[in-house]
């Protein structure tokens, strides 16, 4: 039977047969690089299209529906426009940092792709500290944002970037603690093992209430971390026009835009992996027949289904909630989410030690 795992395996074998190991490894890296870039482009197109359609139907309109089938090629047309546009650099800007910032944001998003398991055995890098790696790398994107805000020589950008810095640094804690609660439960930082531990049921069902609390905190924190409404303080278009990327145009703006959507995909993929079993089909404890039927649906479908479900949730937030104020945002984190997630971690530890989960 065809599976992505065997495909990856066969490519590896084939390359190692033809070339010496070093060249084989290098060419594998090239293949992966091209693959990630292609995935980036596709994700950008699909997610932007999805956002436009989701927002359109929430706002009683049809959204793009002229270019291509149901407007599917609209995003491609927009991208083409952005590529052709002149990328302006403002006069007083720090040119080097200004040009560097979008790439940093982009590279961070690309690095985050590495440990994500798309299906069984189909993973770029099954690093044994996968979750830690993700937490560490994802906080780097704030550097790009601060750099963009500072280098633009624009006060709106500066305020947006400062807000973003405060926000990401604060919410990193909750996101980290929420993830940690799940790590305590699974006993592993490795993504493949976290998925494997959900063989007989997803953690959101098995992990009692602490898992649900952890999930809620995780979703709130990552919405804030990806600068999405209702926490889109860094952009806050009615206050700061476009926040940290006010001065960007053309392809460099598109990079910020793309990185935002890819970041959403990544955090949702992590959420799906930690709480909903990643590519693991829906299994219920000892119902062998039921589990077997579920296994017929490929892991990739499960993975993308769950991820896009979470992405829809995050888009839903954006199109229904007003924006918080910066002090309310920080207040929410430091007085509510952080203590709750600490307490939740304690609770989870007690459950994990006593083995009270299913």
């Amino acid at each position: 039977m065809f599976s992505l795992e065997s495909l990856a395996h066969n490519i590896d074998l084939g390359l190692n047969n033809i070339f010496p190991p070093t060249v084989a490894l290098l060419s594998e890296m090239v293949i992966i690089g091209v693959g990630v870039i292609a995935l980036f482009a596709v994700l950008g197109l699909v997610l932007v299209f999805m956002e436009r359609k989701v927002s359109a139907y929430m706002q009683i309109r049809k959204g793009p529906n002229r270019v291509g089938y149901q407007g599917f090629a609209q995003t491609a047309a927009d991208t083409l426009k952005l590529v052709l546009k002149e990328g302006l650099t403002p006069d007083g800007a720090d040119k080097f940092l200004f040009n560097l910032a979008p790439f940093i944001v982009m590279i961070v998003a690309m690095l985050l792709m590495a440990p994500i398991a798309f299906t069984k055995g189909f993973q770029i890098w099954d690093i044994n500290i996968g979750v830690l790696y993700i937490s560490a790398i994802s906080s780097l994107s704030v550097i790009g944002i601060l750099m963009a805000g500072w280098a633009s020589n624009n006060k709106y950008s500066l305020i947006g970037a400062m807000r973003s810095g405060a926000q990401i640094v604060s919410y990193e804690l909750s996101a980290g603690l929420a993830i940690l609660a799940m790590v305590v439960l699974t006993g592993s930082l490795q993504i493949s093992e976290i998925v494997a531990s959900q063989q007989n049921g997803w953690w959101i069902f098995k992990g009692h209430i602490p898992a649900v609390i952890s999930f809620i905190i995780f979703i709130i924190a990552v919405t804030a971390e990806t600068n999405r409404a209702p926490f889109d303080m860094a952009e806050a278009e009615s206050e700061l026009t476009a926040g940290f990327h006010t001065e960007y145009s053309g392809m460099r703006f598109a990079f910020f835009f793309l990185a935002e959507y890819v970041n959403i995909f990544i955090v949702c993929a992590i959420g799906a992996t930690l709480y909903f079993g990643g590519w693991m089909p829906f299994h219920v404890g000892t119902w062998e027949a039921f589990n077997h039927v579920m296994d017929f649906i490929p892991g990739v479908v499960w993975f993308f289904g769950k991820t896009f479900g979470l992405i829809f949730l995050i888009m839903w937030f954006r199109w229904t909630f007003p924006r918080l104020r910066i002090d309310q945002l920080l207040n929410l984190e430091w007085t509510y989410l952080l203590p709750i997630s600490m307490f939740n971690l304690l609770l989870m530890t007690i459950i994990a030690i006593n083995g009270w989960y299913f």
Binding site: S55, M58, Q59, I60, R61, K155, Y156, I159, R163, A229, P230, D232, A236, E237, S238, E239, L240, T241, W319, T320, F321, P322, R323, L324, R325, I326, D327, Q328
Partner: protein, 371 residues
Amino acid sequence: MIEEVGTTTEGDLIINVGPQHPSTHGVLHLVITLNGETVKKVEPHLGYIHRSIEKMCESLSYRQFIYVTSRMDYLSSHINNQGCALVVEKGLQIEVPERGKVIRVLMAELTRIASHLLWWGAMGMDIGAFTPFFHAFREREAINDIMEETCGARLTMNYVVPGGVMADIHPNFQKKVNEFIKLLKSKIDEYYILLTGNIILQERLKGVGVISAEDAINFGCSGPVVRACGVKSDIRKIAPYDGYEKVKFDEVFETAGDSFARYMVRMNEIRQSLSIVEQLIDNIPEGEFQAKTKAVLKLPKGEFYSRVETARGEFGVYIISEGGLTPYRIKFRSPGFSNLAALHHMVKGSKIADMVATMGTLDLVIPDIDR
């Protein structure tokens, strides 16, 4: 004197909000002094779309000048026209027939609802919720269609003439308005679920942009802004015109004087306006819709003033006539101008986001301020 760019000597940041900015709803230019996120000073710079409407009116006849005012507060253009017609009628002692009055009031209340709906949508946008805008516009569209059928235009209706209204209502008018009443009644509750009841909105608006009743009066605020401080100010109640004394409605009050109070005043005013429309729509008296007037109107020598309650507050028209074909001097008292004046007082010491939210609840229409 502050610089337009750069920083002050104390190291505060000076930012130009506008004339092109998403939150100003037009070409308003605010120079704000910031200490970090905190607003220290707001200085409105006006005049970007000054068209000298008052001067223009001085060269137009008493029939013509009415329609220029549609371009001031374009969201309540009918009510502006009504105010101008009232002052001409006052000067010439023209008695408007009952039917004309009722049609005017109906249109005015529909305009008020449309204006408040637009405000609600734009207000949502100001605090970052985009969806309400489209929901509000869906219902506003129904009003615009009604207007189009009867008046021939959707926004600047130019429907009022001295002595009544320009034409009789369209045969479909009553049916359509009744349908609209039913529609909006079901939607108002939806608005509550979508935005009013949202905890984030309440947190964002409560205790923000507070102004006391005394200060509001001193700044000359009117309409929902001053009613949110509990001041009785509705011209429709204080000095009824065009038969407002015959309809039953409540003047909406709140006491907090903050942004949320202003928000609630407007939301409840939609209900009140709806009840006025409901009372009148099936009871439009028969008869003439326009009084017989002379072809050329000339106001006698003297000074004339009349005021109406627009969606934003008190709109006054002051005319000095020398007895000629055109007004000698004309002055409009627009509600937006005085409401904007209070902005600095309301927002100093609060955050940038609060300033945007407060500005949203002031419901500024820039052509109304600049004239």
